[in-house]
Symmetry: C2
Subunit: 154 residues, 2 copies
């Protein structure tokens, strides 16, 4: 049994996430997913839309996911020790550097292979959380403009 | 084998959807989900954020879902004939009226029981798609205000 580990924020689920998790699972037999805590997301990206508990609970509902964990803040390798993966799959755009991750793993006697996955070439223009957020904001701006024009003609 | 059918828009997945689908599945053994087409969503609610194909593809990824279909526009009962459910589960806030649905089913010799589900009493304030959208728009407005204030002090 080859255990694969994948990590991410998974705020507002989209098909890019599904692609990433399916590609990761293809590398082995079972997939353990680590969901980043809110404080980690704030440090790396932005304020999450959905809190960590909700992001974790949703990830658990995907059939591709066998186990799901919340990340650890002090030392991100603590959760790796708990999961004991054979392979750690990195998304094509995830910031972690393969070489330094490998070094940190070795230091801790964790014997996992790092695999960088290919980019998602989905046909849709709506894969990314940012694109979903962008679409919501555009719709909101259009609505405000319509309301302003209607207000001017009252 | 008791087959349950549930329908919805499922634009931006959240725990309220999961609760609804799990409660529906508890009524039987397998769950068939009908995802509303974009034109149906436009008629009943608003412009969907995610197009029908993406909403359908995401619903298929949930472990609680056994089968997923896109709704039919001309006659919503066509897809019911195809699915042949024993039970049709209605969400607590879904507009369909039990009595009129039962009448329409009888007319078409479809022998399915209608069950209205209870409301989701989730502890979070983020269950609904509207709440997620609201949170995104608030964050956007705050950001714009910050940018304006920073601009004034340049």
């Amino acid at each position: 049994m080859v255990k694969v580990m994948a990590t991410g924020t998974f705020d507002i689920l989209h098909l890019g996430h599904i692609y990433f998790l399916k590609e990761a699972k293809k590398l082995g037999d079972t997939l353990a997913v680590v969901v980043a805590t809110d404080s980690t997301v704030r440090k790396l990206k932005h304020e999450p839309v959905n809190p960590e508990k909700i992001r974790l609970d949703l990830i658990k509902e995907l059939s591709v996911v066998d186990e799901a964990y919340l990340g650890q803040e002090e030392d991100m390798y603590e959760v790796v020790k708990e999961i004991k993966p054979d392979i750690i799959a990195l998304g094509y755009d995830q910031v972690h550097d393969e070489k330094s991750v490998e070094k940190e793993l070795k230091k801790r006697n964790i014997n996992a292979k790092i695999v960088r996955l290919a980019e998602y070439e989905g046909g849709s223009d709506l894969e990314g959380t940012r694109k979903i957020i962008g679409k919501i904001i555009s719709a909101y701006e259009i609505q405000k403009t319509i309301e302003r024009i209607e207000g001017e003609h009252k």
